[in-house]
C-alpha cells in the first residue's frame, strides 16, 4: 500500500493548504461561481456570497483539521483491512460529531470523496476485469459504477446517480409559511391554481420557476408564455375535468410524481383569462392570509 502513503501525504498537504485558502474564501468564491455556472456573479449576490464565504471558511478549517488527522491515520495503514477499519472509525466520528457541527453538505461530500477515493483503486485491483466471464464483467462494471456514484459527490450519469440526499425537517408553527406557484386570473378577478399536471411530464414546476427567476429573471415571461401555450393546447381535456396525463387512460392513468389537486378549469376558458402570474402567498399556521408577493406576471 505504498500508494496510500503517497496519497495520504498529498492530502495532508492539501489539508494545510485548505486552512490557508479558508482565509481567502471571499476572493476565491466568485471565481468558483464563474467557472461552475459560466456566468459572473451579479452585484446583488455579492453580499450573500461574502456572508457565505465567512461561514464557509470556519467550516473549512474544521474539515481541514479532520482531514489532517484522518490522513495521518491513513498514512500508517499497511493493509486494506486496516484502511477499512480507519475509514469506518472516521466516518462514524464524522456522523456522530462533525456532521452535527458542519452545515454545508458540499463540504461533507468532498470530505467523503477524499476519504473514499482509495476505494476506487482497491476495488479496481480487487475485481479482475480482464480475466472474468462476460456476466462477471457486467456485474463488476455495475458495481464499479455504483462505487463511483458513492465516492464522487453528486455524480449524475442517468440512469445512475448518487442517491436521494439526507433530509431533516424542522417546522416552527409560529412562523408563516407560503404557497408558491402559478395562478390564472379571470376577467372578473377570480383566480385558479395552475396545476403542475397541466405541463406534465414536467413535474417540478416550482423548480422551473426558481431556475428562471434566479438565472434568467429578464426572461421569466417566456416561461409564463410556455405555461399559457400549454394551457391553451390542453384546455379541451382540462375543460372535461381530465389532466393531460389522463388523455388516453382516463382516471386509470399513471399518476404524476407529485399528486395534483382538483381544479374546475371549465370555469376558466382561455378567452376569459386576463393574466397569468407567478406568486408566493404567505399564511399563518391558522390559515390567516398575510400577503401575496407577485414574482412575475404576464398579461394573457
Amino acid at each position: 500500500m505504498r500508494w496510500m502513503k503517497v496519497y495520504s501525504l498529498v492530502l495532508i498537504v492539501l489539508s494545510v493548504l485548505m486552512v490557508i485558502v479558508s482565509f481567502f474564501m471571499i476572493d476565491i468564491l466568485p471565481l468558483i461561481y464563474k467557472v461552475y455556472t459560466g456566468n459572473a456573479i451579479s452585484p446583488d449576490k455579492i453580499e450573500k456570497l461574502i456572508l457565505f464565504g465567512t461561514k464557509v471558511s470556519d467550516e473549512l478549517i474544521l474539515y481541514a483539521a479532520l482531514s489532517f488527522f484522518t490522513f495521518v491515520a491513513f498514512f500508517f495503514t499497511r493493509k486494506v483491512k486496516e484502511y477499512f477499519i480507519v475509514l469506518s472509525v472516521v466516518l462514524l466520528l464524522h456522523f456522530v460529531v462533525v456532521a452535527e457541527i458542519g452545515e454545508y453538505v458540499i463540504i461533507k461530500r468532498f470530505y467523503q470523496l477524499f476519504v473514499m477515493l482509495p476505494l476506487l483503486w482497491i476495488f479496481f485491483d480487487f475485481f479482475k476485469f480482464k480475466s472474468e466471464t462476460y456476466e462477471k464483467k457486467v456485474t463488476y462494471g455495475f458495481l464499479y459504477l455504483t462505487l463511483l456514484c458513492l465516492v464522487l459527490p453528486g455524480l449524475y450519469l442517468p440512469p445512475f446517480f448518487t442517491g436521494i440526499p439526507g433530509w431533516t425537517v424542522e417546522i416552527d408553527k409560529k412562523e408563516p409559511f407560503y404557497i408558491d406557484g402559478v395562478f390564472l386570473v379571470r376577467d372578473d378577478g377570480e383566480e385558479i391554481r395552475f396545476s403542475r399536471a397541466i405541463v406534465n411530464p414536467v413535474n417540478f414546476v416550482t423548480r422551473l420557476n426558481g431556475y428562471m427567476l434566479n438565472s434568467h429573471p429578464e426572461k421569466v415571461e417566456k416561461l409564463l408564455t410556455f405555461y399559457k401555450q400549454s394551457y391553451i393546447k390542453r384546455y379541451a381535456l382540462l375543460e372535461k375535468g381530465y389532466m393531460p396525463n389522463e388523455r388516453l387512460l382516463g382516471k386509470f392513468a399513471y399518476p404524476i410524481h407529485n399528486p395534483y389537486g382538483t381544479f374546475d378549469y371549465a370555469k376558466f376558458p382561455p378567452s376569459s383569462i386576463k393574466e397569468i402570474k407567478l406568486s408566493k402567498k404567505y399564511y399563518y399556521w391558522d390559515k390567516t392570509f398575510i400577503k401575496e408577493e407577485v414574482l412575475a406576471r404576464e398579461v394573457w
Binding site: K136, T139, T146, C149, Y156, V199, P201, L208, Y211, Y254
Partner: protein, 432 residues
C-alpha cells in the same frame, strides 16, 4: 477472500427462467403505462432557456445533490448529444418518437428482445432520450432509474427469454446459473438504489439529525396547504400521521437503517418480502408529503415468484399422523390445478430423488419443495409454499409474508405439530 467467494456463489445461485420473462413483463408494462400517460411533445414548445438547462443550473450546488450533472455527462447518457449537431425537435417529431417507443414497448412485451435483444436497446435509447428532457432538469430521477437499468440489463442478458410469443424460449421452470445471474443483477440494482440513498444519510446529516425529521408537522402543513387550495393530492393516511408524532423518529430510523443494511439482502434473499414490505410502507408514507413513487411500487413486483403458481410441489407428510393425513386430503381438494406430488413418510425410499434436500426429520413438520427447485421448506414455511398452489389461499398469501407473521406462524405451527395426536391422530406410531 471469503466474502468474494460467497458473493460469486450467490451471484450464480440458480433461478428459474420465469424471472426473466416476468421482469420483462413488469418493467415494460410499467414503461408502456407510464408513456401512455405522458405527452413528451410538450418539450417541443419549451423555451430555449429551459431546454438548455442542466442539473448544475437548476440545483443549488451547495446541496451537492447532482453536483456533477454537467452538460457533457447528461447529454452523453441521455443521447441528447445528438443536439450538438441537430436542433431541438418540434412537437410533431417528439410525438412520433414517443409513438414509436410505445410501439416498441408493446412489441418487446409480446415478443421479447428479438435479434441480439436489440428491441431493448432501441427502447433504452428512445426512453432515455425522451426522459432525458426530464433528467436535464433533475426531475423523475428516483422514479425511473431502476426501470431503465433493468431495460439495459435485459439487453445485456445473453440467455434465452421466457413468456414470449412465437419465438424460441426457455421453459419458465428451467433453473440455471445464467438465470440466477440475471436475478442477482436485478437485486443488485435495487440494492444500489437504496444503499446509495442510505450513505447520504450518514454523510449529509448527523446522528442527531435522524431525530429531527418532524414528519407529522410536515404532513399537517401539507394538509393545511391542501385546504388553502394548493396543488396537492388528497390522501387518507395524513390524518393518522398528524395525530401520531411519536412515529416520526422510529419511522425515519427504520427506513435509514434499512437503506444502510440492504446490501445484506444479496446474501439473505429470504428477507426480500420483509424488505419489500417496509419499503411498501415507506413509499406509501411518502404520499402524505405528496410524493408518489408509483414506479418503485410497481417495480418491486419483479420479485413476485410467479413460477410458483405453476410449479409442481412435492409435499412430504407424516404417514403416522391421522390429522396430517386429513390435512393433506383437504390440500389435495384445494389443489385445483393438480400441482401437488404428495409423499408419505413411509414412502421416502422410493421417492428419494424428489425429496432431495430433506434432512430426514419429519418431526420438524411437513416438507415442501418445488420439483425443479433446490429450495426446501419445512413446517410453516412448507405450508406457505403450498398456499402458492392453492388459489383459495391466494387472498391471504401476502399476509403470510408480513413481518412477524411468519414468526407467529412458525410458533403456532410448532404447537400444532407437537400436539398433532390430539387433533385426530389415531395410529400407534404417531402417539409414540
Amino acid at each position: 477472500m471469503k466474502i468474494l467467494e460467497r458473493f460469486n456463489e450467490k451471484l450464480y445461485e440458480p433461478a428459474p427462467a420465469s424471472f426473466i420473462g416476468w421482469s420483462r413483463i413488469v418493467i415494460l408494462t410499467f414503461l408502456l403505462y407510464k408513456f401512455l400517460s405522458r405527452d413528451f411533445s410538450i418539450f417541443g414548445i419549451l423555451p430555449i432557456e429551459l431546454a438548455v438547462a442542466y442539473p448544475t443550473n437548476v440545483f443549488d450546488p451547495l446541496d451537492a445533490y447532482v453536483l456533477l450533472g454537467f452538460k457533457w455527462f447528461v447529454d452523453l447518457c441521455t443521447f441528447h448529444w445528438i443536439h450538438w449537431f441537430v436542433s431541438f425537435p418540434s412537437e410533431v417529431v417528439l410525438y412520433y418518437v414517443q409513438l414509436f417507443l410505445e410501439l416498441m414497448l408493446a412489441v418487446a412485451l409480446l415478443f421479447g428482445g428479438g435479434y441480439k435483444k436489440l428491441n431493448y436497446l432501441v427502447i433504452y435509447i428512445l426512453g432515455m432520450y425522451l426522459l432525458g428532457f426530464l433528467f436535464r432538469m433533475g426531475a423523475d430521477i428516483d422514479e425511473i432509474f431502476i426501470q431503465m437499468q433493468i431495460v439495459l440489463l435485459l439487453f445485456l442478458f445473453r440467455g434465452k427469454e421466457s413468456y414470449i410469443l412465437f419465438f424460441k424460449q426457455q421453459n419458465p421452470l428451467n433453473y440455471s446459473k445464467e438465470n440466477g445471474w440475471f436475478f442477482s443483477m436485478v437485486l443488485l440494482i435495487f440494492i444500489a438504489y437504496y444503499f446509495l440513498a442510505g450513505v447520504t444519510k450518514v454523510i449529509d446529516i448527523s446522528l442527531l439529525d435522524w431525530g429531527r425529521c418532524e414528519l407529522s408537522k410536515l404532513i399537517e402543513l401539507n394538509q393545511i396547504k391542501l385546504a388553502l387550495g394548493d396543488d396537492r393530492g388528497v390522501f387518507f393516511l395524513r390524518d393518522f400521521f398528524v395525530e401520531n408524532s411519536w412515529l416520526d423518529i422510529p419511522g425515519t430510523v427504520i427506513v435509514y437503517l434499512e437503506h444502510l443494511m440492504i446490501p445484506l439482502l444479496f446474501f439473505r434473499r429470504e428477507y426480500i418480502p420483509f424488505v419489500w414490505f417496509i419499503y411498501f410502507l415507506f413509499h406509501l408514507t411518502s404520499l402524505t408529503i405528496n410524493l408518489f413513487f408509483t414506479g418503485v411500487f410497481l417495480s418491486w413486483l419483479v420479485f413476485l415468484p410467479v413460477y410458483r403458481f405453476s410449479q409442481k410441489v412435492v409435499v412430504l407428510w407424516d404417514g403416522d399422523c391421522g390429522f396430517c393425513w386429513k390435512s393433506v386430503q383437504i390440500a389435495k381438494k384445494l389443489d385445483w390445478f393438480n400441482r401437488f406430488i404428495v409423499v408419505s413418510s413411509h414412502d421416502v425410499k422410493s421417492n428419494q430423488a424428489l425429496l432431495e434436500g430433506w434432512d430426514g426429520d419429519i418431526e420438524k413438520g411437513l416438507f415442501a419443495k418445488g420439483v425443479e427447485s433446490n429450495k426446501t421448506y419445512v413446517g410453516f414455511d412448507g405450508f406457505r409454499r403450498m398456499t402458492w398452489t392453492m388459489p383459495i389461499f391466494w387472498i391471504i398469501l401476502p399476509l403470510l409474508y408480513i413481518p412477524f407473521v411468519p414468526t407467529v406462524g412458525r410458533w403456532i405451527y410448532g404447537w400444532i405439530a407437537d400436539n398433532r395426536y390430539r387433533f385426530g391422530c389415531n395410529s400407534k406410531g404417531c402417539q409414540a
